[in-house]
Amino acid sequence: MRDRACASWVGLAEEEDGFVFLTGDLGFRALEPLRDKLGARFINAGVAEQNMVSVAAGLAAEGLACWVYSIAPFCYARPYEQIRNDVCQHGLPVRLVGNGGGYAYGAMGATHHALEDYGSLLALPGMRAIIPAFRGDVDEAIRQTAACSGPVYLRLGRCEAPAGWIPPPFTAWRRLVAGDAGVLIAVGPLAGPIVAALQARPERSRPSLWALGKLPLVAGDLPEGLVADIERSRVLVVAEEHVATGGAGEGLAGRLLQSGVTVGRFEHVAARGYPSGRYGSQAWHRRECGLDAESLLERVAALRSRGA
């Protein structure tokens, strides 16, 4: 998604007054066109994320349209107090961009994974998270990020959409695949391999697949189609490449209860860290956590077999 994001920022820089882009020394072979476009307004703030975020708060306080870029783990964890005190406590519209959410950096190791990014950030006042799932989402996701009047976190990942498949336009909620056999909700790029796995299955024997792209969840914002799918099948699995605590699954369970939506069987499949103490690709970590498409579809089937 990075190349698409770069092109999108290049376009946005023409439209937004006071556009400034800060990077924590990341973006090699990705952000060069933006650097060349922005000149002095593209600032490599170096390996100093705490300073970078506070500088962004100062820029935003002066009315500048400020983006802060790093890989996801360095974007939220190292400068968390700066995000809390300097950005969120002042309600400033700083756009934090974390590339490679979840296990996206795979075998690079645990320090490079972001398994609790949006959960920890969403605990802060006014924070929003925007999580595109596919490359084709990026332009609209960046537009929506820029439209936020307060702090926002854009979590980018690797597009895994099946070749030739075109997703519906990016919104908070999208039904990616219709189905009658349960409901499966995926956060972000995790949806891609599931789309691929479902394409060959007939509608009556596959779950309905929804992509969740914006957090936090608000009770009144659950789409009617999603509620109808859940109430019809009464089986719901939520999958996310993020730890369970503070994740979308917990949030959704609460919103469904508040909304009076009846769910017969519910399961939240989340990142579990490193249960074996071994490391590998993003796909390998997903499998270890039951977040691969095959395991997730098995979970839906297992819940259905237990009855709703």
Binding site: G18, V20, A40, R41, I43, A45, G46, A48, Q50, N51, V53, S54, V55, A56, A57, G58, L59, A60, A61, E62, G63, L64, E81, Q82, N85, D86, Q89, H90
Partner: protein, 263 residues
């Protein structure tokens, strides 16, 4: 009654502010008095004689909130009865500054190592947008144990932030020891110079020297190391570690005020 009347000389102004600060802390039953008294003279000169409407001030050493509130009172931006709410339930005047209620406090501070990076952002905005104005940031000396300050210093030098003026209240004492014992923060001027930010030393209690150093038109980033005394103006507090935290009782308040009035 505050001392915003321009006919009042700086010594009288400082005396009035010191007395108000002591009484405010005594009424609230709170400490941090030593570091407030060391910073007070610089805050008064900065706000009365140096700051222009386009300038900004960030109190990185947020535990000197009382000195900032009294300074804002001294320039007529806060009323006397507002100071009476310091530390009280429902007050805007929290123990460390909260933002959003006066232009004089653009950012909430209190966690050390935040004020300078935020100030760097304000200064960068002035550079990028071609806007006038300086950004003054007052740090403590113990605060230079925080890595984020050094990140900001590197950034300020690299970005040539001409609007940025860094003040350091070098009173030599911090929460649980001297800055030399705890952090070995000696030769701060040389350290700043090594990072590409020239630093000058200044008597932090001399209003003439302070005004000259703070209003100096030399472009930043530059630093002014304020040589100060923790607890300045009250003999039993001066250069005493315990007055980082201790509150005043009635007898000590009377003694302190008598000393300040005689000064």
């Amino acid at each position: 009654m505050n001392s915003s009347d321009p006919t009042i000389d700086s010594a009288e102004r400082a005396r009035a502010a010191r007395l108000r600060l002591l009484r405010m802390h005594h009424a609230a039953g709170v400490g941090h008095i030593g570091g407030n008294l060391s910073a007070l003279d610089a805050l008064l000169v900065l706000h009365h004689n140096v700051l222009r409407p386009e300038d900004r001030f960030i109190l990185a050493k947020g535990h000197a909130a009382g000195a900032l509130y009294v300074t804002l009172w001294s320039v007529g931006e806060l009323r006397d009865e507002e100071l009476d709410t310091f530390h009280a339930d429902g007050s805007k005047l929290s123990g460390h500054p909260s933002a959003g209620w006066t232009q004089g406090i653009p950012f909430a501070t209190g966690s050390l190592g935040h004020g300078l990076p935020v100030s760097a952002g304000l200064a960068l905005a002035r550079k990028l947008e071609g806007r006038p104005g300086r950004v003054y940031c007052l740090c403590s000396d113990g605060e230079w144990q925080a890595g984020s300050n050094w990140e900001a210093l590197i950034f300020a030098a690299r970005q040539a932030l001409e609007a940025l003026v860094i003040l350091v209240d070098v009173n030599g004492l911090q929460g649980f020891g001297s800055t030399a014992e705890v952090g070995g923060i000696a030769n701060l001027a040389e350290r700043f110079d090594a990072f590409g930010v020239p630093a000058v030393r200044c008597d932090g209690h001399d209003p003439v020297a302070l005004e000259a150093a703070l209003a100096d038109p030399t472009p930043g980033p530059r630093a002014v190391l304020l040589e100060t005394v923790k607890g300045k103006g009250v003999s039993f507090m001066e250069d005493r570690l315990e007055w980082h935290y201790l509150p005043l009782d009635d007898a000590l308040l009377a003694q302190a005020c008598a000393e300040v009035e005689r000064s």
